[in-house]
């Protein structure tokens, strides 16, 4: 596998605490494979909110967000025969969603670099404690800050901090090794500190 590429092939979770499989999902996935479009509609309707939640952290533009969610379900359908029914359907979808979101970041990388980022706009917002800040406002700030990083760094910080995934789960989502996730996290945090230092600021992140 290419270094750092996200592997779509489904890694089977063989841990003792593997989450239970949803019978309705399994049945609908099997029926979808046999060409039952209504079964696939049920799968989409059941999981679109979850996939939407994941992808909102990749794009805060409503139109792009919808397109990305749509892409995930189209890609999932085209790869449905690779779903091995050994872990929940939602986990499999989450991996595809991560891949789609990451691909979107890579495609829009050049465009983002042109945008000017300044901590000046933050000063007023950060005057009040974060706890009192509107979650959407806080999310927009975090999104803006992480957008200054290359896609790989941004991805690992989004998974580890925004989505609160542990190293093992982040590794599963990305297809990277656990060591790679740790190293990438460390590098990304260093880069973030550098960006802040250039603006005379310091970032505290435990």
């Amino acid at each position: 596998m290419r270094h750092g590429a996200i592997n779509l092939a489904f890694a089977v979770d063989r841990t003792k605490n593997a989450p239970a499989l949803d019978e309705a999902d399994l049945e609908d996935a099997r029926d979808s494979l046999e060409g039952d479009s209504e079964a696939y509609r049920r799968l989409v309707e059941r999981h679109q909110a979850y996939v939407g939640q994941i992808l909102w952290r990749f794009s805060r533009d409503r139109q792009v967000h919808e397109e990305l969610v749509q892409d995930v379900f189209v890609e999932a359908y085209l790869n449905l025969n690779s779903y091995r029914e050994e872990a929940p359907f939602a986990h499999w979808l989450a991996r595809i969603a991560t891949r789609v979101g990451y691909r979107y970041w890579k495609q829009t990388k050049r465009q983002r670099r042109r945008e000017n980022f300044s901590f000046k706009d933050w000063d007023q917002l950060l005057a009040e404690p974060s706890e009192r800040m509107d979650p959407s406002q806080a999310a927009a700030l975090v999104h803006e800050l992480l957008a200054q990083l290359p896609p790989r760094d941004r991805l690992v910080l989004t998974l580890r901090y925004l989505q609160e995934l542990d190293v093992a789960e982040a590794a599963r989502r990305t297809g990277w090794s656990k060591t790679m996730v740790k190293v990438q996290t460390w590098r990304a945090l260093k880069k973030l500190q550098k960006i802040a230092a250039r603006a005379g600021k310091e970032i505290s992140l435990s």
Binding site: A49, G52, V69, A139, L192
Partner: protein
């Protein structure tokens, strides 16, 4: 002294954000239906069979032609004769 940004607190607050509602089921099914292959028309099917039959006939004809040519001529001598006037 550098101003400190408590990113962990900011991220914690950001986690509480709800994503906008999406309903893509209809559009997904439309895209998938459009991607499915169109059925092959009867006329196209006829051309496919004709192309397959002519390919099947061409291969043994070419092999047979090669052996017949070799059996009825001596290619090396023909070439030597053709260039003999230059040698002279």
């Amino acid at each position: 002294m550098k101003q400190k940004i408590r990113l962990d607190a900011l991220i914690q607050q950001a986690r509480g954000e709800q994503s906008p509602r999406v309903d893509v089921a209809g559009r997904v099914l439309t895209v998938l239906a459009a991607r499915r292959q169109q059925p092959i028309l009867a006329s196209e099917r006829l051309f496919m069979w004709l192309a397959a039959a002519s390919s099947a006939a061409a291969v043994p004809a070419a092999i047979l032609g090669f052996f017949l040519y070799n059996a009825n001529s001596e290619p090396l001598r023909e070439i030597a004769e053709a260039i003999s006037w230059i040698v002279q």
